[in-house]
């Protein structure tokens, strides 16, 4: 189950952060997302991998915390997508697929002429779309 998704701007400012748990753990998730940025920074700044992975937007597993796994995705405009999940064995393909959909939703949201770039995403339809993507992620892995 995905517990949290986040969009973080290129200046590492949070643009969107939504948790999907009932528990009051917003602060914790904020912290987790915030910390993941360190890992993303590190990956981006030390590209030790070979050339083909340089253009890869999917960053893979960022780091496992006690109960969560954090996956990351980096767009060309240096906007980061972060997904926190409780599933302990997530297939890379699933995660990739999730981020692709998420990215599309984000692109649509920021294409809104009323969206101010660099400001938090206030679009309600984006939220709805994201939550459906999140829900489908859970069902996709089981089915």
């Amino acid at each position: 189950m995905i517990v949290c998704v986040a969009v973080v701007g290129h200046q590492n400012n949070p643009l969107y952060l939504q948790s999907f748990t009932e528990a009051d753990d917003a602060l914790k998730l904020h912290h987790i997302v915030h910390c993941s940025l360190d890992v993303i920074d590190e990956r981006v700044n030390n590209p030790k991998r070979s050339a083909p992975t340089l253009n890869e937007t999917f960053l893979g597993l960022l780091y496992p915390t006690e109960n969560y796994k954090v996956y990351g995705y980096l767009t060309n405009t240096k906007v980061k997508f972060i997904m926190v999940t409780t599933d302990l064995d997530v297939k890379d393909a699933d995660a990739r697929n999730f981020f692709r959909k998420f990215h599309a939703a984000y692109v649509d949201a920021v294409s809104n002429p009323f969206h101010v770039p660099g400001k938090k995403i206030a679009s309600r339809s984006f939220g709805v779309r994201v939550s459906t993507i999140v829900k489908s992620f859970g069902s996709g892995t089981t089915g």
Binding site: P14, H30, H34, C35, L37, D38, D41, N45
Partner: protein, 1308 residues
Amino acid sequence: MDPLRSYLGRLLLEEITPVVMVLTTPLAEAACKKSGLSFVDMLSPFSLFKKIDVPVRTASEVPYRLQMFKIRMVYASDVRKEDYEVADEKIKPVVSEADEKALPDLLSGPPQLEDVLGKPEAELCPLWIKKFNRELMRTLSFSEHETFDHPVACLLVVSSMDKEPISKFVDLFNTNQLPSLLNEGIMDPQILKHYLVLHDQQEGPQDIAVNVLAEMRSTLGSNDCKLLCINSSTEADGSNADNSWLPYKALGLNNHEGTCFLSMDDLNEVLQHLVYIMCVPFPLRFAGGTNAKEGKLCCSVIFLALDHYSSVLPLLIKDFMQDFASNHIIPYMEQKIRVLNQQVATTRKGFRNQIKNLWYTFTSIESQIRVLGDFAFMLRDYELALSNYRLLATDYKLDKAWKRFAGVQEMSGLCYSMLDQSRKDAEYCMENAFSTYLRIGSSGQRSATRCGLWWAEMLKTRGQYREASSVYFRISNEEPSLHSAVLLEQAASCYLLSSPPMLRKYGFHLILAGNSYYMSDQKKHAVRTYRNALFVYKQNPWSYINDHVHFNVGRWYGVLGILDVAIKHLLEVIACSHQSLSTQNMFLNDFFHYVQSMGKKFDVHKLQLPVFNMSSLRVVHEDHRTYASDADVDVSESTWQELEEELIPSSSVVRTNWLDTQPKSSLRKFKDSSVCVAGEAVKVNVELKNPLQIPVDVSGISLICQLSTNLDALSSDVSGLTLDGGKDQVNIEPSVSIFETNADNFIVSQLDIILRGGESKRVQLDVTPKVEGVLKLVGIRWTLSNSVVGYQYFEFDAQKKNKKGKKGRRRPFNNNLVVIKGLPKLSGSIEHMPTKAFAGDLQLLKLNLRNHSEFAVKGIKMKISNPRFLIPGDSSDIGLEFSHCLKKQKQSVVSSKSMKENFKGLLFVFPQDIEIQAGATLSWPIWFHAATPGNVSLYISLYYEMENSSDIKYRTLRMHYSVEVLPSLDISFAISMSSSRLQEYIVRMDVVNKTPSESFVLHQLSCVGSKWAISALTSCSSISSVETVSANQAVSCFFKIKDFEADSCKEAGSGSYRSDIALHPGTSGDVFDVARAPLADFHFQERYRQGKLAKGPCSLLDFVLISKAAGNSSKPSPDLQLLSHHTCHCSARNQSPVWWLMEGPRTITHDFSKSCCEVSIQLVIHNSAEHRSSVRVATFDAMPEKSQTVHPHDSTSVQGGWYDVSLENDIKTISSAKSTHHEKQYSKSISPYVWCSLSSAQIDLQPDSCSRVPLKVCIFAPGTYNFSNYELQWKVHPSKRAQVNEDVNGPSGGGPGHPFYVTVLQSV
């Protein structure tokens, strides 16, 4: 880097060292107690040898030299596994002691990014943390799965005062008294024994002791017996001696490595103490020399001093220890290693030890290998140690003795690390050990922690800080909260040390650490860690986290009683709009709680609750421009300036001549700053917003102002006036208290409001200067919930000024206002000015002007932006009864015409004799007409001059009203020409009521101008059926109008035709006069406006429909509401510009017996086009003949569309098919007639003119004839220029004649 020199190396040297078990007799212990120390404590400082420099040879043949060496002295009673709880209790003071020292730090500001990055590692990981780590590891001392805590030697101590010292030695090493570990066979009891006789110099001469020693040597062996004399100090009697050891205790020598834990401060304190108590000048010299920065240097200095002081004693101990270590312990260990090595080698070579041991006693081969490994490790023969550990690992693994296996792996990892060979192997071993410890459950937890600590140190030594921090993090999970906190803090510092520093993780782990500290009741530490993390969250808007940190820091500071700092931090979070209601409540409650605990009101610069939107700041001050209401200020200055263009004298008028500089200069002086008038309030509009969902109580909102009566200050230097250096000073936050309100010079308003959750309010704050001078607006102050005073200074920086671009609005914004002498001022308003009106609404209003000052004003002029809506009335209009005054009266209408000239343009000049005296009120009528639907802004500017001329000669009063005009009746007219009479028109009036609920009574319809007469159609003489148009109803009425000016007949004179028609039956005589003011004036405006829009080529006439609001059916409106709708430039709906009709007698009596009848008729042709046109008229007689050629049955068959076509008839019928239409129209009664005057005529018609063409018809028999057998063709010549161009032709057309029936009768 040499692993031995690294911190890990030091740690291993000091922690994994040979243990010497100490057994003392009570008397020996008592002798030591005289100096306040136990025997072990006394020896401990000398158990560390920095440079022992002894050769060591272990299993290999090649000896090497050992430099640093340490012995752990442990009482036999302590050689046991301690309870975890008890051990953990011992750790607690380490942490809590450190927090005492943290206090001064907490009072300073939180560290910033640069501070933290610049910190050396030592500061990030302070000594107390290192000490904590050691203590944590020590809780595992004497665990059964390891052997490096097994005593290597035993030191038996007997006092020289003891009776029979030799037997005492035997008693001491009595197995019953030995630690259980030795007795149970876990530890080897066959260890090196060393005998010491302790002699207290004060008890007696040394001879006794020497005798005892001799005795010992003879029985116990000469090498292993020693004599130690203590308390040799000459001046040291009982109490003094006690004191003299104080420094030792203070230095923390009970701790095995006490010297390292001291800060400079402690040392200085100790040194002073030392000097004071001992009164020895000598150490002072050393103290003087302790400027050295290193703490350790200081320590050694102290040691030197102490050594010197009681020179005999410590030197003896030192010698003893040196000898003990190098001559006994090390050789013993060497020998043991060799023996064990031999043993292991043979055992291993012979056969594998296949017997599974559940209990590994010291005799088991595994234990022996382990001992061998550990001894080798302690003597730093890591190669040997490693080979044995690896040997063991396989065995233990086979035996599934996991804890032992893990222990061996741990040691192998350390060996690899110390050998600095294979990092990978080291890592693998540590990882393996760590996970194995964890796997075995709770019994392995602390071991895992220790292993993790080693591991982390190992990684840190190699600079792998990130990995180290994750190890710290992992072990923190296994520990109780206090330990976990310290471990997390170390994890955090490792993230900071990693390159590049991972600040977010640093912050996060600090927060986690802080949380754990808080849970374990270490608030100071909690605050410290949170505070250190603050800067991480500052830069980015991670507000949730930032709020959490600030809030907790604030709260904990509050708990610690540091209220001011607590409040400072809480201030950061109280304006958290993004938090939930409950969180906001919590934040606010805590904030107020601490504020109240402070017990006094205090000032907060830039308090964020409520938020003052400084960009919304508007300063309204009135110089020569005054405003009727505050809303009027929002109108842009350019609108006013445009309006006032003709109203106010241009600047050249003010200056009488170019030499006369005096009046000018006084104005010039104020040019750069705004001017306000003493006694008149300067208003500041500002928006404030409550970001919370909780209502907040804001009271005493007022301006902070300064008024300097020294006027020259401004001209000399504005910044000089700003008293405190203006901005710069403001930035360094001068206390708000310096701006005490000076009630003599000015008065400021106080405002109390309660802002509901999320509410924004615009407030107006006033300051009224009382004296002349320069008023400076400094800022705003307010009180939040009666406990916190917030204040904020206005920031007028240049950038803002430019960005705002308030060009024309006000001169460059300046918070300095020049206060000039009091001036007369008019206030004005239009009484009962409607805010909503129906279109067409006509009202008489009153403009009231009041003079508040003690001087009269004169020369009043007024300009209105939209005369379509507002027209000033005549002074006579006042007091007239509304609507009645508009009625048609008997007197002449000419007088009202004069008004129009008076109101030329938009400027209205009040009669010259009007002056408004002091305190008086002038009322002036003003007409309002809601001309068109929509939102309309009406601007009125009043100009007046002062009686007593001062700096300002005149002032203007600006009024602004906006009216929402709702659609009411939609009226349109369709005029069509009467086909029978030339100058008559049929008018269809369509009235649609567009209101949802209102109904209107149609009162009167008037044509404007004397030329037109209007009357109801005779057929519908009563139109009472349409008197009321109710909501959404549409009504059409028909009228006839007649242009009787152009008409030759003078019926108008008779009065039967009038330009008004009453639509309401009861009011036929009660019509309104549209030719009088104000209806005429409004009509004039309407005509002008609508003329702009009119697109038709010619306009015929204007209509005015006057109606009355009937109100809702339920309640008839008591006051009569009059609506007038003006529809201008109506024109006839004609298709072609040229129209014509036949005129002539309709009935003729003629005697056909005498002659044929000649009828004279006229064809009247009218050109209504704007251009000249030519018309050609042709008559023809052929038509009847043609019609006669057509067979009746043929025509019917054509009509039917089906007929039997004969080939002969074919062509003929088709050719005549067109004419059959004409023929069809003719009635059967038509008899032939002949045109007899002319067959065709060409006429040129000027625009808008008529022409008559005389025609004659000859009739031969009585009957009714239709003289329509003619055709007209016309062509408009657009203009001269167009005429030249052949291609461009005006519209042209033509048509057959209209039917004109004439009945000719046979005269009798």
